[in-house]
Amino acid sequence: MAKTHISMKVNGTEFEGLVEPRALLVHFIRENLALTGTHIGCETTHCGACTIDIDGMSVKSCTMFAVQANGSEITTIEGMANADGTLSPLQEGFRMMHGLQCGYCTPGMIMRAHRLLKENPSPTEEEIRQGIAGNICRCTGYQNIVKAIQYAAAKLGGVEFKEAAE
């Protein structure tokens, strides 16, 4: 199968590649671009571990072909830390609130939370849970992930974060 030339901006840098049309975007990111932070957890578009931010949307990169993303602008987990290398508010929130254990769902979860907070900078707990319903976690039971996102929302909003009483 003849390969197609594609180019896209990923984490601020222009990348090019030659891919088969059937090459999944998640494989292009992980293999061609060697950005292995984006993970694969299923093949039926349920788990969300492969979630990236593309052209202002949260998308499961396992359900797009790389050719569909030609000309797009993508942010992956590798593009989230601050310019000086410190953790972004979401990354810090996940650490402070123990919102991860094995770390496998974390990149997809953070990328989704990133877009969620742009859609809705002060979400309620219910809105957060609905907002991350496309991301499965097996380790945390989601409770601390909700807190992590609340922490980040507060920090981004310049407000002090108060953990809700149990």
């Binding site: 992980r30 571990a49 590798e78 990354q91 991860l100 254990q101 770390g103 496998y104 097996r138 601390n144």
Partner: protein, 807 residues
């Protein structure tokens, strides 16, 4: 002393030792996508392998035609059982004393069983190759119902066992029978039942499910032809065991095998044993001289790797009229699938199921377990089960509720009447365990007080009346669960994996500048060992946790260990860590005495160093002792400051807990809502409360999924009908309830730091709480026992069977 001198509190806090909510070290890389998981491993010239799998549950393999597959660009080889037979690897031993086909040898025994392994230059070509392999099958009648497995005319599954009337665990009664395991006193138990005022008997089934970690099983095998060395990166919860097993079955010298478990995306028992994928990738690498990667899909993971549970338990309790239990009898029919690949310690074919007397003082008990083969995936022991403890806890907790119902007693009151009392510890159970410590009554009373249990029962009574009056279509249930776990496998006298005793280990080496590195034989898959193990060391030897690097998973560097599963890491490796630290502390004391020019006995330990008794200003910090260890040790002493400990635990540990689930069910749709879930856990000494809470949240979420619908189900043809995330229930943040956690602390008397382990408790205690809640909701309408899982449609079915919709 001046303002600049840190206080004792400050020095303590600087260590971030035991009891501190230390933030995790692992998170720095995980939140940045810089973890190193198996599929991130890329080596030059690396090939990919993928499986051709059987669509049939039971069939003869007439022929495998690889011609078309080999024509696919990029496909290099198609390995079959015939290929593997040349190196005697067509079959491999299982952890349970059985053998298992690596690739189909003449027949297949479960749907999606591995038939051929296609090796190609990349995963796309490998998948193309798989689609082109032509296999001719002759279907055979499938055996799916374990209750029919020992019928006289049941299909023969294991032709390889023809004529073998003894298995690894004793005599076999039938060609589909694996073992019979008996524990306890039959005569005394029968006698207790004969004279009992009240007895109950119920078939309580724990359905088949699957641990489904978010990362599937995978490996990269790289054989260096020049050096004759095999390196394997893999999703291994027990990397050292894998190394030894590979050495034995592949006949490679063990020192030439390097096994590395990098970051693992969840294990939950799915990643303990060896799978055909590992063997085939290793063989392919040895044959081609190139690295070979195998990464399974989710459907492959759910349908072919180690399932969990599938126990059909007939429980009987004998009791006095006023609710004192006098005997327990349990028979289990254990469905092991096509091969007994259970990851149990070798002498325990039914794991530690004999913990089924639970938290109650049964004077006598008798247990029999019959294991059988069916045309389903092999395995059985997985999914936070502590070797069948999840099954045992579910059995006894359901049975106690059923007894309470028969007696007309409140389930919590019945438990209070029968819980083992604090004075009875260490407690010798009727089925052979010595429970180390517990204060059950305090825990249950605390649960009842905090949740205002009495008020909830009052509310339930009034809601039941309202339901009967037709004022509401919702029923309310209270699910009580009081569980005792048995973890920390285990003492060498009765615990081994393939002959290797189940100790664990820790090696600590301190550097001149007051920092150090520590390695253990365990392997975290999310439990946070890099963070918590350093906390133990920090408290023991006064070096800040941040200055201790913790490594696990590289078998060349880490001392031999049996890995992480069954909540054994804290009880066993945690102990080894403390013991190794204490060896270092003992040497440090001698160095300090020498440097301070006093006798060792004149020194006392003070948070982060040694102080001369009565002379508080004469103090030497551990930091300074580290430096001294490398330049001025006492004459005759070796320089350096390191120690290794291999810890053979004297006993298991017994965490316990009291859970309550408050649930409302809409009878018309069967939809359930968890109104409140309270979980009190006692895991002894709490190393990091933040991590404990996280473990409880995660385990409860798994329990919720299992109890309320997560099932690996087969139809009568042996086809898996719940083989992907479409139908295998994986709750999202929307379905998952809020968890309220609490604790008591009853240290383990035999553990160096009194810790018991907690990882699996929430799954053990959680499922009974949910299932008891559903059953409690319906019981006033006339039911005794409604089987799990409690899907919406099954709740509706239960309501229908109870006549709720009768005109």
């Amino acid at each position: 002393m001046n303002d600049l001198t840190p206080t004792r509190e400050q020095r303590e806090a600087a260590l971030e030792g035991l009891g501190c909510k230390r933030k995790r070290v692992e998170d720095i890389r995980f939140t940045q996508g810089k973890g190193n998981y198996v599929d991130d491993v890329k080596l030059p010239g690396m090939l990919h392998g993928d499986f051709v799998r059987s669509p049939h549950a039971h069939a003869r393999v007439k022929s495998i035609d690889s011609d078309e597959a080999l024509k696919v660009p990029g496909v290099l080889a198609v390995i079959t059982a015939e290929t593997l037979k040349t190196v005697n690897l067509a079959w491999m031993p299982t952890l349970a004393g059985d053998v298992q086909m690596v690739l189909a040898d003449g027949k297949v025994l479960f749907q999606n069983q591995e038939v051929a392994f296609v090796v190609a230059t990349d995963r796309y070509a490998a998948d193309d190759g798989v689609s082109k392999v032509q296999v001719e099958y002759e279907p055979l009648p499938p055996l799916v119902d374990p209750f029919k497995s020992m019928a006289p005319d049941a299909p023969v599954l294991r032709e390889d066992l023809a004529g073998k009337d003894t298995g690894a665990h004793g005599p076999r009664k039938h060609h589909n029978h694996i073992f019979e395991w008996m524990v306890g006193d039959k005569e005394l138990t029968d006698a207790a039942f004969k004279k009992a005022d009240v007895t109950i008997k119920e078939l309580i089934s724990y359905h088949r499910t699957h641990p489904s970690p978010l990362e599937t099983c995978q490996c990269v095998c790289s054989f260096d032809k020049v050096k004759g060395e095999l390196t394997i990166w893999g999703t291994f919860q027990a990397p050292h065991v894998i190394r030894t097993v590979v050495s034995l079955i592949a006949k490679l010298p063990e020192q030439k095998i390097h096994v590395i478990s990098p970051d693992i995306g969840g294990g939950f028992g799915n990643k303990v044993g060896a799978y055909p994928g590992y063997i085939c990738a290793a063989v392919a690498s040895i044959v081609t001289g190139k690295p070979v990667k195998w990464v399974e899909d989710r459907i492959e993971n759910l349908t072919a790797t180690s399932f969990a549970r599938d126990y059909h338990m007939t429980a009987e309790i004998a009791a006095t009229g006023d609710g004192k239990v006098t005997g327990l009898r349990v028979h289990v029919l254990a469905d092991h699938g096509a091969f007994d690949a259970c990851a149990d310690p070798s002498k325990w074919p039914a794991g530690f199921f004999n913990i089924v007397t639970g938290s109650y003082d049964f004077p006598v008990a008798h247990l029999t377990v019959d294991g059988v083969y069916t045309n389903k995936a092999p395995g059985g022991v997985a999914y936070r089960c502590s070797f069948r403890v999840t099954e045992a806890a579910y059995c006894i907790e359901r049975a106690m509720d059923i007894l309470a119902q028969k007696l007309g007693m409140d389930p919590a009151e019945l438990r209070l009447k029968n819980l083992i009392r604090r004075e009875q510890f260490p407690y010798h159970s009727a089925l052979g365990w010595e429970y180390d410590s517990g204060d059950y009554h305090t825990a249950l009373r605390k649960m009842m007080e905090v949740t205002d249990y009495a008020a909830l029962r009052k509310e339930q009574a009034s809601r039941r009346a309202a339901f009967k009056r037709g004022e509401t279509r919702e029923i309310m249930g209270l699910g009580v669960s009081f569980f005792t776990e048995i973890v920390g496998a285990g003492p060498s006298k009765n615990c081994d994996i393939l002959g290797i005793a189940m100790f664990d280990s820790c090696e600590i080496r301190l550097h001149p500048t007051g920092a150090g590195i520590a390695r253990m034989g365990t392997k975290s898959q999310g439990q946070g060992h890099e963070t918590t193990w350093a906390q133990i060391i920090a408290s023991e030897i006064g070096i800040p946790a941040d200055n201790i690097m913790v490594e696990e998973g590289n078998t060349d560097n880490a001392p031999y260990g049996l890995g992480t599963y069954g909540s054994r890491s804290t009880p066993v490796a945690g102990a080894a860590i403390a013991m190794a630290a204490r060896k270092i502390k003992a040497k440090a004391q001698m160095i300090a005495a020498y440097k301070l020019e006093v006798h060792e006995d004149d020194l006392e330990w003070d948070i982060d160093g040694f102080r001369v008794k009565g002379l508080p200003e004469k103090f030497m910090s551990m930091k300074d002792i580290c430096w001294a260890a490398y330049n001025s040790v006492p004459p005759g002493m070796e320089p350096g400051l390191e120690a290794v400990s291999y810890y053979d635990p004297p006993n298991m540990t017994y965490p316990f807990g009291a859970y309550l689930c408050v649930m409302d069910i809409d009878v018309d749709t069967g939809v359930h809502k968890i109104r409140h879930f309270y979980a009190l856990d006692d895991c002894g000494t709490r190393i990091n409360p933040m991590i404990i809470e996280g473990q409880v949240h995660g385990g409860l979420t798994e329990a919720f999924a299992i109890a309320m619908g997560q099932e690996i189900r087969y139809d009568e043809g042996g086809n898996v009908v719940t083989g992907s995330f479409m139908d295998f229930f994986m709750p999202t943040a929307v379905e998952t309830p809020h968890w309220e956690t609490d604790f008591t602390v009853t240290p383990s008397p035999h553990h160096p730091i009194g810790a018991k382990g907690v990882g699996e408790s929430p799954n053990v205690g959680g499922v009974p709480a949910f299932s008891n809640a559903v059953n409690d909701a319906f019981s006033f309408l006339g039911s005794t026992h409604i089987q799990m899982p409690h899907d919406y449609w099954r709740n509706w079915q239960a309501a229908k069977n109870l006549g709720v919709f009768a005109a």
